[in-house]
Amino acid sequence: VAPAVGIDLVEIERVERALERRPRLADRLFTSAELAYARERARPGRHLAARFAAKEAVIKVLRPNDEALPWQTIEIVKHAAGWVGVALKGAAAEIAARAGVHELALSISHEAGFATAVAAAEVSNTRGTTE
């Protein structure tokens, strides 16, 4: 078993501008539950940017090679106590199972103009380095 970690940093305004310009983009990047959560908040873009960073951090842990990995197959879930977790579906779940990714943990944060996320996991299958 080896540890794996992924980190990502997102400029909140960039995400907001991209979503404003392309109405369909939100449904491609986020699940309906993620959108519903963010839209109840004062500045949805901040929460969506944090979720996008979290998905990218998870992708860095999953390290897909030449496999399609749609963003909606990585769902960021908020627990009642305030912590976030991740639910993998479809392609993301398959890649995780094949790579032996266990105990995927996540932390997100946002401040001023940026949102950031870190994902960590235990990986039981040896993998080649991807760069």
């Binding site: 997102v10 369909r24 983009l25 897909p64 090679n65 030449d66 399609a68 990995l69 392609a91 760069e131």
Partner: protein, 81 residues
């Protein structure tokens, strides 16, 4: 089509070197394109060519070079001009 792709990559991939230094087969990720920049490239391609990349094409290799982008666009029915 290749000229339009090269222009979009130059504007959105945020590479340290000029697009003229890259061949159609050069690896854009090796050249410094980040995953966020590849998303910008994807969205700009969709705007330019009026297409939408389906889920099955949301993988690193599709956006890995000018040539791979060109074959993806051709597969999506964009005419080779």
């Amino acid at each position: 089509m290749t000229d339009e792709i090269r222009t979009i990559v130059e504007e959105h991939a945020r590479l340290p070197q000029g697009i003229d230094e890259l061949s159609d087969e050069s690896d854009l990720f090796q050249a410094g394109m980040t995953s966020h920049a590849s998303l910008s490239v994807m969205l700009a391609l969709e705007d330019e060519f009026g297409i939408e990349f389906p889920d099955r094409m949301l993988k690193r290799n599709v956006f890995g070079s000018i040539a791979s982008i060109r074959s993806a666009l051709t597969e999506l029915g964009v005419p080779v001009a």
